[in-house]
């Protein structure tokens, strides 16, 4: 048995759903989205739900500022009654050395000149006005943007999926792409786990941490690997922390969600497993307890209620791989490491433009797959 589609999108995270919606909006009639589990079940649903302007490369600054703007209006645009829980209280990035502070100043200047982002550099006194309970020992300043913040990953994804479905996209959950057919250097179809073949001239790989496996199906070697990251959640508290606080020095970040609970994260790329393991560990609990109570001693009395783990989809420069490939009709939107949730809206739109042969709103050519051969890596200094 076989059926036909104009486009098959593999992956029901925020990127896949956004791409499907934007393609449907362009008038593509027969779009199928495949998700092996349920929507937002992988990276998207396991993220820290943060959105920010504060990046250090032109490409990420343009993408993220545009995406934040799209988020501000997303629930209305997509006519999504549950809302996406957008909260803009800022991101505060702590600097512990003068050279780190210099880097933040350079980043802020670029953000403000390219996108009028409104990023400011704070003194320690200004930091304490925003977060009085922060331990500022060793802190020399911070970068702050008050329009950074939080969105609910499930709702953003569901909002795109519902809007896409209304435009006729067929969303097949619990359906896995198991092979891709290629003939004469171009894609011709996708085989799903039932054995059925969906004939299609276009396949989009938005499979997140599983993206390299999808690449293999067309004979492409994508330098993409999973890396576990973990998060811990506390009981809900009265609102007291308006912004996300990040320290690249400690690999730590923490914030309070609109619901009141605190979300605490520590990145530990040196020790974390690099496979498809999504189990939480006790060691992480202790590590977070130590590091976060150092930043905020008052949190010692707060109770942890839950913990989870998710996979970053890592590339050699921790930046995404986007666009066309050497296989005709096979497109990539993978490799977002720890910052891809917020970019779902803008990248979905751009991917739809690229697939339909239009000039994209933002030039994404630096994110090509070839850069790992040519060495033209993307030097993003602001990633956790």
């Amino acid at each position: 048995m076989s059926k036909k589609a104009d486009v098959v999108v593999i992956g029901g995270g925020v990127h896949g759903c956004s791409i499907a919606y934007h393609l449907a909006k362009k008038g593509y009639k027969k779009i199928v989205l495949l998700e092996k589990s349920y929507l937002a079940s992988s990276g998207t649903g396991r993220s820290a739900a943060g959105i920010r302007h504060q990046f250090g490369t032109e490409i990420n600054i343009r993408l993220s500022a545009t995406s934040v703007k799209m988020m501000e209006n997303l629930a209305q645009e997509l006519d999504y009654p549950r809302g996406i829980d957008l909260m803009q209280g800022g991101y505060m990035m702590l600097a512990y050395t003068e050279s780190q502070l210099e880097q933040f100043k350079t980043n802020a200047a670029l953000q403000n000149s390219l996108m009028n982002a409104g990023t400011r550099i704070l003194t320690v006194d200004e930091i304490l006005k925003i977060v009085p309970t922060l331990n500022t020992e060793g802190v020399v300043g911070a970068s702050f943007n008050e329009k950074d913040g939080h969105v609910d990953p499930f709702h953003v994804t569901q909002a795109y999926a519902d809007a896409a479905a209304r435009l006729g996209v067929e969303i097949m959950t619990r359906t896995e792409a198991v092979d891709i057919r290629v003939a004469g250097g171009r894609v011709t179809g996708v085989v799903i786990n039932s054995g059925e073949v969906i004939e299609t001239p276009v396949v989009v790989n938005a499979a997140g941490p599983y993206g390299a496996l999808i690449g293999k199906m067309v004979g492409l070697d994508i330098p993409l690997y999973p890396e576990r990251h973990q998060i811990l959640v506390t009981e809900p508290l009265e609102m007291f922390l308006p912004c996300m606080v990040i320290s690249f020095t400690h690999g730590t970040y923490f914030k309070q969600t609109p619901h009141g609970s605190l979300l605490l994260g520590v990145g530990d790329p040196e020790h974390e497993v690099k496979d498809f393991n999504e189990e939480s560990t006790w060691q992480f609990l202790e590590d977070v307890a130590r590091k976060i109570t150092y930043h905020m001693p008052v949190l010692k009395k707060v109770r942890v209620v839950r913990q989870w783990a998710g996979l970053y989809d890592m590339t050699p420069d921790s930046q995404a791989i986007l666009g066309k490939t050497g296989v005709e009709g096979f497109y990539l939107d993978v490799g977002w490491s720890g910052h891809g949730l917020q970019l779902g809206p803008v990248v979905g739109k751009i991917m739809a433009q690229v697939i339909s042969g239009e000039e994209p709103d933002i030039d994404i050519s630096v994110m090509n797959l070839e850069r790992f051969k040519t060495g033209a890596l993307i030097p993003e200094p602001a990633c956790v």
């Binding site: 609990l285 010692k300 209620v305």
Partner: protein, 92 residues
């Protein structure tokens, strides 16, 4: 307001709301949890998980033991960060 049968006390979700979500296609405990926060509160689903599982079973015609349970994620009981450090006392 009409009587509501509360399923999830922590997040104030009623049986009707849960049934509506199942109706809309959220057919596993994890999906319902993520869209509605059911089971994400301080009790971590101890109160509601079983009821939601029964509702899914009833709606999908599956047996109760075929319904996938959410993953166990430590800690089992809420614990203070300070205790994890070894410094705090539980009843302070």
């Amino acid at each position: 307001m009409p009587d509501r049968t509360i399923v999830c006390r922590c997040e104030d979700l009623s049986l009707e709301e849960i049934r509506e979500l199942i109706d809309q296609g959220f057919k596993s405990i994890d999906e319902i949890k993520r869209i509605s926060r059911c089971g994400m509160g301080p009790c971590q689903g101890r109160g509601c998980r079983q009821i939601v599982a029964q509702e899914i079973a009833a709606a999908t015609g599956k047996k109760l033991d075929e319904i996938e349970m959410p993953k166990f994620r430590p800690p089992v009981k809420p614990v203070k960060l300070g205790i994890l450090l070894g410094g705090e006392k539980e009843d302070e």
